[in-house]
Symmetry: C2
Subunit: 468 residues, 2 copies
């Protein structure tokens, strides 16, 4: 019996090997591509378990996928095999708010969970730019975070328990609904950020937090991005914990204004500080931030209207996609887009990125979660010009190496996937990478779970990726 027939025995018509469908699943939001041999859309843990069990028996790779919003090729089937599209497993299974918990399937879209939580006065803090599309399974598998991790932490801090299908098809639970446990290895955190290389997440118990009663936004503008970076370091050193701390360099501000001329953003390189909490606390914190920024800022203003703040954040969320407004002949390519460094090194990183942009003659927008040391660099090129592609590759490589040299990371939140696998050895060192490989071999001895990712293969050369 053929593999496709065996898959159909498990999920019926929700398994396919049609070339058109396989092509649809051959990429994510990165430049990485790879066509699966089979696409399977399971609707239950039992189906996932049976499919992975079959894959193990046949020695076929399995790559889990949610909404395909990943920026590192994590959900791309580099070596063929089965893509498991988990977007159909999209039930919010239980609202257990008395335990500050919700139980979700991996295909639930992040924003939909928050819509369900809002009337109850709670929220799930991780808030990536793709919140309106990305699924929670992917968010967990990448340890995603976004704008509010500077105060609330990353996804890692909000997962109490996972149900995972292991490489042999068996199903395990990694935790419980108890908020605090010291009982053996932290398997929950091991699977978080493992990008589908150790198992497939089929259910998660997430911890939720109470919605803050008030928010306020401080908008400070500076004469250079580097100056803005210094203000970030000064703010944290003074003991303030904003709920978001974003940078929008002058190019980004120009793009945002072109999208929405009514947007109230000043000239220059801009920092957005959000503070949240009680009414009194946010007034106080906003004043403190303004006081720290004032000596070096060109302007400081505060927004407290819910509508005005929402407009600024909505624009901020779209900035990644909106850059083509600056020059319609250019497209943004997502490479080198997620570096991070220790807070103290933020000004140095901004300076280096500016130099790299100049050296490779590529315009670069710089924005991101600067309070975490996380800078999203948007590089854009004319995709019809092969020389610009070559320069793009050089610039992305230089940005990655600069981050590592500054004691940082090639990815703060988007993941390593295939796109950044080549940097793992340099960033984490051969010792740590050996430990990761030993864990991988122990839990997936046949190497069927999302192969080719994270630099875990001993022949961990990067995939060519394909450029377009």
């Amino acid at each position: 019996m053929d593999i496709i027939d065996k898959l159909r025995d498990i999920v019926g018509e929700r398994a396919t090997a049609s070339p058109a469908e396989r092509l649809c699943y051959s990429s994510d939001a990165s430049m990485v591509s790879g066509t699966p041999d089979y696409v399977v859309r399971p609707l239950s843990t039992a189906e996932v378990s049976d499919v992975v069990g079959l894959a193990a028996a046949e020695g076929v790779p399995v790559t889990a996928r949610g909404a395909g919003t990943g920026l590192a090729g994590g959900a791309v089937a580099l070596r063929g095999g089965i893509v498991l599209d988990l977007s159909g497993m999209d039930r919010i299974v239980e609202m257990d708010l008395a335990n500050l918990a919700v139980v979700v399937e991996p295909g639930v879209v992040q924003a939909r969970l928050n819509e369900r939580l809002r009337p109850h006065g709670f929220f799930f803090p991780p808030d990536p730019g793709s919140a309106n599309f990305c699924t929670l399974g992917g968010l967990i598998a990448n340890n995603g975070s976004g704008m509010r991790s500077v105060k609330y932490g990353t996804t890692r801090n909000y997962v109490l328990d996972l149900e995972v299908v292991l490489a042999d098809g068996s199903v395990v639970r990694t935790g419980s609904r108890t908020l605090k446990a010291a009982a053996g290895y932290d398997l929950t955190r091991l699977f978080i950020g493992s990008e589908g290389t150790l198992g497939v997440i089929t259910q998660a118990v997430l911890r939720v937090a109470p919605l803050p009663k008030a928010r306020r936004l401080v908008i400070a503008s500076f004469s250079s991005a580097e100056e803005a970076g210094r203000a970030v370091a000064a703010t944290f050193a003074s003991g303030i914990v904003p709920s978001a701390c974003e940078i929008l360099d002058r190019t980004t501000v120009a793009v945002l204004r072109r999208c929405d001329p009514g947007l109230r953003l000043p000239d220059g390189d801009v920092l957005l500080f959000e503070v949240d909490g009680s009414e009194g606390a946010v007034v106080e914190a906003a004043e403190e931030i303004a006081a720290v920024c004032s000596p070096t800022a060109s302007s400081v203003m505060t927004a407290s209207g819910e509508k005005e703040m929402e407009e600024i954040w909505a624009a901020r969320r779209l900035v990644g996609a909106a850059v083509s407004r600056l020059d319609p002949t250019k497209s943004r390519i997502y490479v080198g887009e997620d570096v991070g460094v220790p807070i103290k090194e933020i000004p140095a990183l901004i300076r280096e990125v500016a130099e790299i942009s100049e050296r490779f003659r590529l315009p670069a927008m710089k924005y991101g979660h600067i309070g975490d040391g996380n800078l999203h660099v948007a590089l854009f090129i004319d995709v019809l010009d092969a020389r610009e592609w070559a320069r793009l590759e050089g610039a992305a490589d230089a940005i990655h190496r600069a981050a590592i040299r500054l004691g940082g990371t090639v990815s703060s939140e988007h993941g390593i996937g295939a796109a950044r696998a080549e940097y793992m050895m340099e960033q984490v060192g051969s010792g740590a990478l050996s430990v990761m490989r030993a864990i991988k071999r122990a839990l997936d001895p046949k190497g069927i779970m999302n192969p080719g990712k994270l630099g875990l293969d001993d022949d961990h050369g990067p995939p060519s990726g394909g450029e377009g």
Copy 2:
């Protein structure tokens, strides 16, 4: 050449096999005992690496130890071999506050770090009852937490990077000073809570938090501990996040008063809620907590004087040791002392513990970090009465099983060690335990790192422990 001579080649006179010294290292603060063959007091990572390398070559167990304050036998050499006393590696290596980080050796006492941080306006939030004695290495190896984890999270949330000596003597780093990274498996979190079974922590980069500007204490008293438990659940459901939420049942209150008659604590079963933040925020939060508790509380009062709050917390810290004041013929034995359950189950846990105390005719004090669902049960007996020892064992077992049945954990923060190893299978399930064992085998194939702990041995029977 004998092993002791080889050890002396590495650390000189800081290695010993003298019976007296070995005896001194044969227990921690639990009932578990086991005598090492050698005691080694290394002063550097290089020495730890050489000792572990030697142990690997000789096939000799290695058990790391800090201050010996552990309550589960985690630092006890169950199967002989080498005890590595890391308390001499006690340097605060670097205060890197611009990166919100400090670099410490494992032997630094928790409170000493906070003394160094205070003048700079920062603190390291994990705050166990043993803060004045316990070392940071042990805190990390157990994922310790204490009173403030209800708001700030456990040690897990404050470790950026670890230096670890692996089972073959090699040295790895697990992270960096960057606050946020998505770059492969979370080795930092894997070693946190692994209780020395995967490697020896020789250095840690910790994240620090700004000291809150104000604190306030709400003291509410109830007619029963169960009623108090319901008030805890109601407080969290209403979206308040206190910085501490402790329960002191009426027996505990009586003990505290006997220690310090001046202590301002009401009659009944008492909840202590601490709130911290800005001056305005704490006033507001204290009022909200009072409003939630008032309908069911016998009394609610608020303390804001630093001295008064400090007295109450200091007394709270001592309560574990102070119970013998209640009855000088009784001693507290640390068993069944660290269970935790989901918040919703707190009243049920309190009820079950009361029933168990009655059934086994053993007085029980109940106190602890109830906001995390973590209840410290203090059982006390006449240690000269063998029948009381037998009843104690039965009661502790019943408490552990009740916690598991309620979806909870046999340990919230003290660890599994040897004392609770027998419950691992029941609590985490055979699937998760198999994953832990696979990881253990992958990273420590010879099984030399702290053997006999966490239920990781395939013959994971509990040690007899010895009773006195």
